[in-house]
Symmetry: D5
Subunit: 165 residues, 10 copies
């Protein structure tokens, strides 16, 4: 066994690239994918992204969040450096928390066409209240659509302890 070969990686233009350019305006086109080598199997990939920041659409004030993304790949996996650049591109973009997680999920669905995906944002508080939106999606007409419904029904029965400190 030899691991991923040079050839399998040739479409990844960002990983290990020196001259990375960081975009701070919403740029979904930066997302890159690579081939899933285990398509005969359902399995999960999760990204933990604690360095997300965007702007409040009304006041322009910076917002901060940790974003958790989990998906079951079909033919493609999203490459993590391109995901980093994509998330950084919200830096000077203004939108509600509820909109951000839905947009992120929509863009990942478009580029990966996964079997299942979910996105959970956990934002820091403003005025003593923090907001944590969660959305998910399963390919329509498949068992993954039912999976999405099942996971939503079971979502977050145990809210984590939050005391704003």
């Amino acid at each position: 066994m030899a691991g991923r070969k040079e050839e399998e990686l040739k479409d990844l233009t960002l990983l290990g690239n020196q001259g990375t350019k960081y975009l701070f305006e919403y740029s979904p086109e930066v997302l890159e994918v690579f081939e899933n080598k285990h398509p005969d199997r359902d399995y999960f990939v999760k990204f933990n992204c604690p360095e997300f920041t965007s702007l409040c659409p009304k006041t322009g004030q910076p917002d901060f969040a940790t974003i958790y993304i989990s998906y079951i790949p079909d033919k493609k996996c999203v490459e993590s450096k391109s995901l980093k650049l994509y998330l950084f591109s919200f830096r000077n973009h203004g939108d509600f928390h509820e909109d951000c997680v839905n947009i992120i999920m929509n863009d990942l669905i478009k580029v990966m066409e996964p079997r299942y995906i979910e996105v959970w944002g956990k934002f820091t508080p403003r005025g003593g209240i923090s907001i944590d939106p969660y959305c998910n999606w399963g390919r329509p007409g498949t068992k993954y659509e039912k999976m999405a419904e099942y996971r939503l029904m079971n979502h977050d029965l145990y809210p984590e302890k939050v005391d704003n400190r």
Copy 2:
């Protein structure tokens, strides 16, 4: 993509407003909503609210709690600054813990007409005992009513460790 536009936000009178007036008597009318831009999808929004305080209806002593609110929006989302003002309006209001969480949920149902909602209050102890009421609701006659029943049946199988310190 441009995020929420100025026009979409024009009905929000409180967010970013300088002359905010803080009401300390129960004021459900202060709640404001905005349009849900993802109504084709079921997703959760959670508010973590660790700065809730009210009064004991019998002794007048202040009570303190963290309130967790989770809902699946239909056409409307509740704006978080108005939610803050609403919760602050319990400051000089006297009621039992069990009543507070039910009232909060009733008011949010009225103003948002959500698909599903739940409210969990975790109060600080009096006399060595703390009380944590939890209520939920799904729109009658829909799958969300069953969802409420399912989530109640699975509620809090793992009570958090509490030692009053």
Copy 3:
């Protein structure tokens, strides 16, 4: 809206009462209830009680526990100060851990006639071993009986880490 009125609270003889008498022999008669104002809805009330102490029936040695009580009220709720006095009444009473949680649940069923109830005791160790009994109950012949069976089947799949320190 006005919260609980003076009149609704007139049967509560203990809450806010100056001359509280603490009983240290098993006294189930001290329990008091008040009216549930939300009987059209199933919801949970949980009590966290980390100040429980009783005696070993064989050696007379004091035992200590945290007791967690959760129930779905029907017509009545148990008042928390009377619950405190009731639990304090085990102070000089001798019984096995397994018996204590069953007795507490039996007494609360009798006084509240709830739809559903569960009691979990987590005791400190003797001889390096600690004991945590858990019992529950749903009104026979109703969906709450099935709820009790379901919650027992799902009980404590993740035992908390205990190292006796």
Copy 4:
């Protein structure tokens, strides 16, 4: 109500006994039981046992574990001091981790004839890897057999964080 009476406890020869003899060779005969006073009800009893030690069958090196035991009693409960002595009797006994938890469960089934039982051992690492075997059992031909299958299927979906420190 009077708690456990002297007479009910007369078969317990170890609890409160001064001349306790500690056996360090596998001694299942030391286990003692007492009558379950609540046989009309399914309820759980859990033992947390962080002071378990045995020997590696190949190298003779001491092994250490925390053992979690949960069961639903039928007619009998195991007395905790006798359980302590039983677990101490593995002190100079050599066996694989996988075997220890199965043997403990087998012995407890024999002496208590419970409705349901499960045993989870969490051992300290050797060579950077730790092993946590888990077994369970429900009385064959009853709903408890299905309960065992259900709990196995749901076992440990959230492995605790282990970093060997």
Copy 5:
């Protein structure tokens, strides 16, 4: 009862062996198994492995992870020292995180032929994002295949808090 006998252990060439040779190139042949003495029972064995390291296939940079492996044995159990050597053999091997967990599971399926198995890798972040792939497998055509599907559907509803510190 005497525990594992010398004879039962005679095929284990690595455990307790002085001259252990550490291989740092992918070496699945190093895995050894021993007989499962409890084949009449479904039970879980979990390995916690916080000392996993491999290389990035593109940049050659070292990666670090904690690997959690859980399985239900059939006729054979994997011996933990051989598992250690196997995992150490990824030390100078380059592969994507998503590939590593799938390869580890494939190799363990081949050598143990278990009833059920799952592998979860939790890697440290690169560029602020960490990746946690999870795969599982149940023997095709048996109830364990359904178990795999069930556990995937319920996987990681509560992502652990990650803040890169």
Copy 6:
């Protein structure tokens, strides 16, 4: 030995008193003291007060804090129920965080005339930043004045981890 006698407690008008009146405007006169029975010894008394709330002097918005108070008594100790009422009296009072802790300390110095005292407030964040003022005082011209200087110099070398969640 008999503990505190009825007579020693006769000046405490609030402890155990049924008709407690809760004042929500700054009321230092509510503080009560009792005799220190161990004046020949320097010792510390600490109060943990996680239920403090006041108003922002500019915006009127409620603020929340945990207040820690530690002192070495001289002739008098402050009674804890009167301290509770005193702290509750900031409920509708507006002042900066920096002022609140200094005022609390000044009032306690006046009523107790302690040898040494310190007050630390830990507030919840506004706009992503939380403020924790700390002041202390030792009786001028005594070793306690030097103690105050020493403790200030060693104050908070290890700021607690704060992430606003």
Copy 7:
């Protein structure tokens, strides 16, 4: 080397004794000591005692605390089972928190005549406030008196986080 010999232990009447009688009225006479075998060396012994309970001297309500005791022995060490019985003897005794820790320290000074000793009580809250008194003592005219002064001056610069839950 042979460890403590039977003869060295002959004055310990409580350790391993079957007929232990638990006293619930303040009983300092129950304390027993044994010989310190390392008197040529200053070293610390600490007792962690999380099972302390007493009564409020005014209201009779039970109080609960964890008591930490640390001392440098001179000729005698206090035996831990007798310490347990002594602490249990506060069970039906009424006193202020500030008095309890001073009394415990006084009694241990009398029976052990240690070089240095300190006692810290951490009580559960009443009315939202918890009290943690701390006292210490060094033998007058020795370096241990200075040690006491030094440790008091450095006491508790980092109050633990308390949120009453």
Copy 8:
């Protein structure tokens, strides 16, 4: 006593101001101060700032940190909303971690002329390593200069556990 009066707050142009403008280029001029009302006393004010972000000066990649600022005021205190705006102004500014904390301290010294100040930055990792610079300063020629030296000598003897997760 009346708290801060309107007049005392008239120089604060940002607190409670609706039209706050967020600057994302280094803007030390945004800092505002108010009068310290307790100048006769040395006391500490600490700011916890977990929402700091800047850019790497070489690669342009966003960096994230929690900044802890502690100071002893002299005549002036820094207003927290202006501090927020100041810290946000590093958003699109590129500098090394070591430089950022020194610059922040220099700017605060200039605007407040405090007696003592310290700044500690805790950044998220890049390439598996995180950097935490800490600087402090006491007014030259005063005891605060010695205080700075003392606190540096005692700085961070207990590095927090960091595992990049």
Copy 9:
């Protein structure tokens, strides 16, 4: 640079040795040392040993502890596998907790002749109380003797939270 050479390690008979014999009676002679290659520098070596077990000298009941050992080497360092075997040799040895830590320190002083050493044992509770003895030693007549006195005076000002669970 080549690290430790084969020759430097030739006196270590236990490390990597296959036929390790585990002794369960007190065996100080098993301790082995190797040369300190950095004798021109004072530095600390700490051993964390959470797998310590011994017997109660009076009752024979097993005791369990975590032992922390820290020392500044002079010419010799103790080899960790021999330390493991030494600590395992207390397995069937009966002694008081206070004696165990003093004996361990005495034996390590004898074999290593360190500049400074300290030993802290943290035992699991019996009868609700746990005991944590701590002793230290500096070479008489050197600055290390003063170091021992200094560290004892500063020992454990912050007792860890213990709740026996």
Copy 10:
């Protein structure tokens, strides 16, 4: 103000460099430094490095550690990417834990000539025991030499809790 200029960074050959080569044999020459822009001030820089791995010099088995490095710069700071490469270069290098931390400190002294430096390694256990060596150094003949002595004397008075899980 403009932050670090391109010119100031021109000697850093590794930061942002695409073709990074990872060396796995001890390579101190890879370390690079940049100019300290704040040489008039003593301040600390700390590196948290949880991804350190080396080999046992006797058995060849991989070891794992978290390394904490803190220093006060003089004219130069070590660049963190070069530090990463340096630490990675121990990957196939065999040495004792005690030697590794001393070597790392020696190399950093040579390349940076700092005023003060300390290195703390926290390794994972072998045979149930983990080893944490700590060394430090201050420039001879300066106050930093005394600082090193002071910090060693105060080192690790509170060993972190280690239970090997």
